[in-house]
């Protein structure tokens, strides 16, 4: 309920522009504040939270706008991550010592669009046969796809070592911006920016871009058609909407966002392994979308922040608490986290299907009712 009041107050602030400027300044200072108050480790956590928000916003297009349940979303993230891991590291020298004696080192900015396209291509391959069927099939096929990608990543180290199997690929090149690698501390205008800060700004820019794209799509002819499909597919097709093509578009666009985020992830972490792309990660991203409110950008961002920070909070609270109470650890924070996610999915659907934040439409409707009463 607290969110509602904060939100309605924000809505009636006299000057939204000054609010936006204040928000921008706060976001720009955030890594320095976090660093000073909580330590550098938390800046890294904030970076990961931004990645998750990007992922969640991408999935929101698929689940929130078009109403398609994608349970293997992390697989597209994996495709993007390995795309850059292979083309931006010494790894391929192992498989092709003659062709690439030093591995392949393409620029991140060339790989990024390719990773997005490749992931989108996988999305089309997967979506084309399934999207003409009922929604449940998409759910289960994507679930299977998520597992298959992991099986391939785990096993494609022999006879030709493509993925290095469970060990994963390391020494991935850092992202370069204007010739400066973000993996090292940079001095700009006399201020020193550690690597995690630099990545924060990179991710912030990308998150802003994803938000911009989502917003534009939401309030467009395409976005309306997606929502029509989400609300009632038969009625949508009777209104002349080619439901199959539009579903495929949503699915492929979501996959592209996933792929791009994956490439960012690989560059940031410098290391990828199949472990990062388990089903649980897909569920976590889905949880972010559902918790905040499907189809609602602000809600999805809130969900992303909550769930990205939750594991850290659990790690810092559950373990010492159990140590103090029982003298040993009975429930490890990881499974407690998953238990909470699963429970949250059920409880949200049963009691608050619109999510934590009231949706855009609901807010607008409340606003217009007030106007109508005054008139």
């Amino acid at each position: 309920m607290k969110h509602t009041t904060i939100f309605s107050k924000m809505k009636f602030k006299p000057n939204p522009r000054s609010l936006l400027i204040a928000l921008t300044i706060a976001l720009l200072l955030l890594p320095f504040i976090t660093d000073a108050l909580l330590g550098r480790g938390w800046v890294r956590i904030v970076d990961f939270a931004m990645l998750y928000i990007m992922l969640a916003l991408g999935l929101n297009i698929v689940v929130g706008y078009a109403g398609l349940l994608d349970l293997g979303y992390i697989a597209f993230f994996a495709v993007g991550a390995y795309c850059y891991a292979l083309t931006g590291s010494p790894h391929l020298a192992l498989a092709f010592p003659v062709a690439f004696p030093d591995g392949v080192h393409l620029s991140f900015w060339i790989v990024l669009p390719l990773a997005a396209l490749l992931a989108g291509g996988f999305g089309v391959l997967l979506g084309a046969p399934t999207l003409r069927l009922r929604g449940d099939y998409l759910a289960i096929v994507t679930l299977g796809f998520g597992e298959i990608i992991r099986i391939f990543l785990n096993n494609l180290n022999a006879p030709i070592n493509l993925t290095n199997g469970p060990q994963g690929i390391s020494r991935i090149d850092a992202v370069n911006v204007a010739g400066a690698p973000l993996s090292a501390t940079q001095n700009i205008l006399g201020i020193s920016f550690p690597s995690v800060h630099l990545y924060y700004y990179l991710f912030l820019a990308f998150t802003a871009l994803v938000i911009f794209v989502s917003q534009r799509l939401e309030k467009s002819r395409i976005g309306r058609a997606w929502m029509a499909i989400r609300e009632d597919e038969i009625a949508a097709s009777a209104m002349g909407i080619n439901t199959r093509d539009l579903k495929l578009l949503a699915f492929a666009m979501g996959a592209m966002f996933g792929g791009a985020s994956g490439a960012l992830f690989a560059g940031f972490q410098g290391f990828v392994s199949p472990e990062s792309f388990s089903l649980m990660e897909s569920i976590m991203v889905l949880c972010m979308v559902v918790l905040g409110g499907m189809g609602n950008i602000a809600g999805v961002i809130l969900g992303g922040i909550l769930l990205a920070v939750l594991p850290e909070v659990l790690r810092h609270s559950v373990v010492p608490m159990q140590q103090a109470l029982f003298g040993k650890i009975i429930v490890d924070p990881e499974s407690l986290r998953m238990l909470l996610f699963g429970g949250a999915l059920i409880v949200m659907m049963l009691y608050r299907p619109a999510g934590l934040l009231p949706s855009r439409v609901r807010r607008r409707e409340l606003g217009s009712d007030e106007v109508a009463e005054k008139a």
């Binding site: 534009r216 467009s220 002819r221 395409i222 929502m227 009632d232 097709s237 009777a238 002349g240 409707e365």
Partner: protein
Amino acid sequence: MTHTPSLLQLSSVSKQFGGLSALSDVSLHIRRGEIYGLIGPNGAGKTTLFNVITGLYQPSAGEFQFNGTHYQTAKPHVLAQAGIARTFQNIRLFANLTALENVMIGRHVRTRAGVFGALLRNRATRDEEHAIAERARKLLHYVGISKPAQTLAKHLSYGEQRRLEIARALATDPQLLALDEPAAGMNATETASLKKLLKTIRDGGITVLLIEHDVKLIMGLCDRVAVLDYGKKIAEDVPEGVRKDPAVIAAYLGGGDD
């Protein structure tokens, strides 16, 4: 405009579900600019016929011709593009979208903006969006919805929801407006104003196909009426003729009170 007098012509359309025959050998034609009624006892195949015309079902045999083009199997969105718009017997609005958005979605099929238009929001897209919203507002007014355009569809009254469905269908610029029991569940006042609305729509140049339970409404409104019974057409005439048709009388007396 083509010179054919009929807008829609069905030739020997049949539809089977499993072993059951829901429609057998139905032929009929709807003329441009008329209000054409389709009645029949419960389970006579009215909705099945309707779903064939609007592409939800594929006919098992036969074909139909709309506006000079032959169709045997066509997807609903193709027929909407061709100019057939419909409403649903058990209202199927986009419940969690606003009244305005519902009607705007009806414009989808007559507008063009794609992903790049949405992202760039260039001149053409903005103009198109503006025109869509403008048209949608006009249609809301036209069908007589007085609530704010931003009201969620699910919060409209029952009668208004029916009207909103009609507005949404009209937004597709149809040549044939097909209504599946639009007066179901309406009270006498609502039915009377619906009748007026349908006449206005017809006078605006749109052909109307009406399926109804309410025989009185059909008789008072339609130019011509077809009667289905057990999946067969048993009569097709002006209301007066149908009323006197012995086969129709028998079907209705035998089929209970409706």
